[in-house]
Symmetry: C2
Subunit: 396 residues, 2 copies
């Protein structure tokens, strides 16, 4: 960091505080919670700030609960004379939630400020449940999760939410065909009543893409397409490591790709009777797949049609975006024979075929990604020196 | 800009120089070249630098040819006593080229350092011409253009090039099916032999997207898909105002979208005889379109099939990317009835349909975008204080 002069003192304090907190967290993140700590000398070296400045900041962080002094007997090497004071980041000073709202279930994941999972919960919900009932199910799941983990609600610093549909920046659902009463729902506003912290709502396939990039099949790759395979498929993508939402939040809403220039909907494609399936009746779909595995010829043909269609949709996404990795998640991942035909198709049609991987996070993908969004928010608040400086420069 | 301390003096000089040059150009850009100028007082106010610093920088800029002192009689208000010295940015101090290399033609566009066009030229070339012949045609076009404009070759500061195919960062063509001998060609390296300045090679649809954003149908919109319609369609996209190249430079290579899940290639689709057309034989295509306009039923059916296919391809891109605006260019734009079916299809299948516009730049789109890339490069070099500062901070 270049030193900055001429700013207002409170801003300078905020920047110094963020720099020290970042250094403290980095010093303690890689080791087990109780083992690692940093001395004032460590922090002075890591930040380039003066020792009195660091000491003042650390005392402020202790007052606010974000740092703790590690008692000398735990703190490692003891030298002659008075032992050096040592400090650690208090990841337990706040908590984060990642919430999934789906057609058949709601789920929640709880973590500390380091993103370490402390517990999770899942509740079933009817695909026909109205919005109020679905939201009530979310609240009940969260209450149970907090209670089991012994975490107070006011300790939550941010909540991320993954939902089907096109979600606007303020958390309103612009359009959603998968959940009853969801289109037009001010989902962010409704959930904010239950929490006193920021609530960030994002499309579910987008959160899953973020999750696979964070700790799943796309770790180390910044250009990722995640396909949430199912009867009504969706997709999320990262470009240069950042979520690509599109101009109106509708990027990757590939449900309609199924239909482009074709006659049959996926519900018809997967039908063995000529009558279309109910797109939300997953039990019926599971039966078709089970029949196919048992060798039923009509079911096998239906599943083949379905896989071929999904493969085409994914290939279209790949041609448009040219990702490094395609991750396939959702229930269709369980199908034998989804990934190999996809690889073949991509090799055939794409000028530069990407890697194809199966989701590593499976059913945890949406909650994990929602949690990551909450963590991003808190990190930007607590640690983001650069954005503070940039904002300051932009204002001048 | 926050002032920076502790840097090395030559870096500080560079930053100051960029800041003053930027202010000088801004002061003179909005007015006709000979009318506008800035005094030392203007530049001191605009930059926040001290008067002696500004004066030193301006003298350096005059030495390097990037600024000129405006003689007092031209320079506006005359006060009592010695008139204030006034200065202007010398846009004529350097020049830029935008080059298009296509299947049937090569073209070039010349500008000054403000991006003001000074001339252009087009030469036909056979779609069967080998790479050496095509490159020779490019060199001849450029030589003619420079001669006509009276611009010396060594005055070129950067050259942008738009070419079909997947282009790597160093300007090597990774894959190109449209031009003979083009796959694997070190295009950037070959062209650099003709110029002593940087040569930037980019996919042609990408450069066209940049052009429409700069001064065409997508001005004011940062999320743009440009479709270069033709027998072998391509697309370029801007996301947040920046070109989206994809992980391997293959984003928008939608030629294969035509084929996904379908039986017929576009050459078959457009055929009136059952025999596929030659994808590069545009004269044959033009005949089919002329027949269709004259009411020939088989030609009309072929054109309808072709438009429907192109509309589907574009819709797939829109579903993947969710742009604010889709700009359609290339020869298929001339077809009556391309844009309306596209709007209908997008309204039908996209959850949030984008605006649809026809290219405003037409045949000039690729050279204009290539020129803009060259201009971006020079601006980053001459004016980019932020990137200089960022680079410096990254090194620390």
């Amino acid at each position: 960091m270049g030193r900055l002069t001429g700013g207002d003192p409170s801003l300078l304090r905020r920047i110094n505080s963020a720099v020290v907190l970042q250094a403290l967290r980095a010093a303690t993140a890689s080791a087990p919670p109780d083992a690692a700590s940093a001395s004032l000398t460590d922090l002075t070296l890591a930040t380039g700030l003066s020792r009195p400045t660091v000491e003042g900041v650390v005392d402020g962080l202790i007052d606010s609960g974000l740092a703790a002094e590690v008692p000398a007997e735990e703190g490692g090497v003891r030298r002659q004379g008075r032992p050096a004071r040592r400090f650690r980041f208090r990841a337990e000073a706040g908590h984060l939630l990642g919430i999934e709202i789906g057609a058949h279930r709601v789920a929640a994941l709880l973590s500390d400020l380091d993103g370490r999972a402390l517990g999770s919960t899942v509740r079933e919900v009817s695909e026909k449940a109205p919005a109020d009932e679905r939201l009530e199910r979310v609240r009940a799941a969260v209450a149970e999760l907090l209670r089991h983990a012994g975490v107070e609600r006011h300790s939550l610093r941010a909540v991320g939410v993954g939902s089907p549909g096109i979600v606007e920046a303020d958390g309103t659902v612009h359009l959603c065909t998968a959940l009853p009463g969801w289109t037009g729902l001010p989902l962010g506003e409704r959930l904010r009543r239950s929490f006193r912290c920021p609530v960030l709502v994002e499309n579910d396939a987008n959160t899953a893409a973020v999750a696979e990039h964070w700790k799943g099949a796309a770790v180390g790759s910044d250009d990722v397409v995640f396909v949430l395979a199912g009867l009504s498929p969706g997709a999320g993508s990262l470009i240069g490591g950042r979520l690509h939402r599109g101009y109106g939040g509708a990027a990757g809403e590939i449900g309609a790709l199924h239909l482009l220039g074709r006659e049959a909907s996926p519900e018809q494609v997967l039908s063995t009777t000529g009558e279309p399936l109910n797109p939300l009746d997953e039990a019926q779909v599971v039966r078709v797949f089970a029949l196919a595995r048992d060798g039923d010829a009509r079911a096998r043909a239906a599943v083949d049609r379905f896989i071929r269609r999904l493969v085409h949709d994914t290939a279209a996404l790949v041609l448009a975006l040219d990702p490094e990795v395609v991750v396939v998640g959702g229930w269709a991942t369980d199908l034998d024979g989804m990934l190999d035909p996809l690889r073949d198709e991509l090799a055939r049609y794409c000028l530069r075929p990407p890697q194809v991987a199966q989701s590593l996070l499976g059913e945890a993908a949406v909650t994990t990604g929602a949690l990551r969004l909450a963590l991003d928010h808190v990190e930007a608040e607590l640690f983001a020196v650069d954005s503070t400086v940039t904002a300051r420069r932009a204002r001048r």
